[in-house]
Symmetry: C2
Subunit: 179 residues, 2 copies
Amino acid sequence: MSARDALLDAYQSLLLTEGQRATTLTAVAAEAGVSKGGLLYHFASKEALAEGLLERLDELLGEDLAEMASAADGPSRYYVRTSVWTGGALDRAFVAVSQLAQEAHAGAREAMNRARRRWLDLIREEVGEEVTAQAILLLGDGLYFDAALSGGTDPEREDVFSAMDLLPIVDRLLAAARA
Amino acid sequence: MSARDALLDAYQSLLLTEGQRATTLTAVAAEAGVSKGGLLYHFASKEALAEGLLERLDELLGEDLAEMASAADGPSRYYVRTSVWTGGALDRAFVAVSQLAQEAHAGAREAMNRARRRWLDLIREEVGEEVTAQAILLLGDGLYFDAALSGGTDPEREDVFSAMDLLPIVDRLLAAARA
DNA sequence: GTCTATAATTGGATAGAC
DNA sequence: GTCTATCCAATTATAGAC
């Protein structure tokens, strides 16, 4: 793995588990096992780190949308399935960027809205009804909210959501929308 | 309004619209129209501000749960209705605290989980089924996530969620759970 | 490509005047 | 109860050695 990727991983991981305030250049460098100077060779500023993360999100999102569009069980089920926290690459990038968005980072807000709009487009296409599509999008948002709150990792949680349990709910919404 | 409340409002408002990083003592004092020294007379530290906000949330949550439990249209509909962003006092406090929770603030995480557990309890009582209750909670979480992303205020948004539209979805879930 | 040293600025907090 | 002045630590970023 390139040093650049390792630094981006460290940045993302700290955002996820410690939040913005604790995600300092010193902390990122330490997490990645390099010095601050080393970090700044690859990313000339903190903003450059943010932009790197946004690029990564867009890349992962492209792959995700392709899979979602051609998912055997349909986009809606795919979306809810994959919104349950599994610690996957896209999940991690998405929740990390959501932290930036909450700091009023314009680029991050655009990226988040872009992602959610495209997910919603695929869901709407399948469901055929706007409000049901919104509800399914919101279910996924809720799962991301939950992940963001617990820092993406909280092994002591008792009330974890399970994809297996939630999918029948999605089926009900789909069936009702078609009826 | 007491100076204390004005400072707490300023703190909450900055958390909501600017995020953690921008919510400095200087910024809070300026927003409230006092000096840093003035602020620190009422709240001896930044942590004291956070604790003040948590107290406010617990207070508002108590009122909300009482209303939710006795809502004419039932707890589930009440919950989704009131999770749509209206800029109400509880909404604002909840989303502001969610920002603290994302900074791994232990007290904030506990408060959030406490709130969500109690909301879920009331919903489960009405619905009678665990997974449907979870889905309704997630719908509300999704609405909060959306609010948190846009800083609670983004008049230029085109894709705003409406309580009127979403309530039929809740009705479907309730009906299906009872069938 | 990575490090150390350091500059410049900001943030949280204290002391003491009014 | 509010303000100004000030201190110290932390943070971003630069310069230059290796």
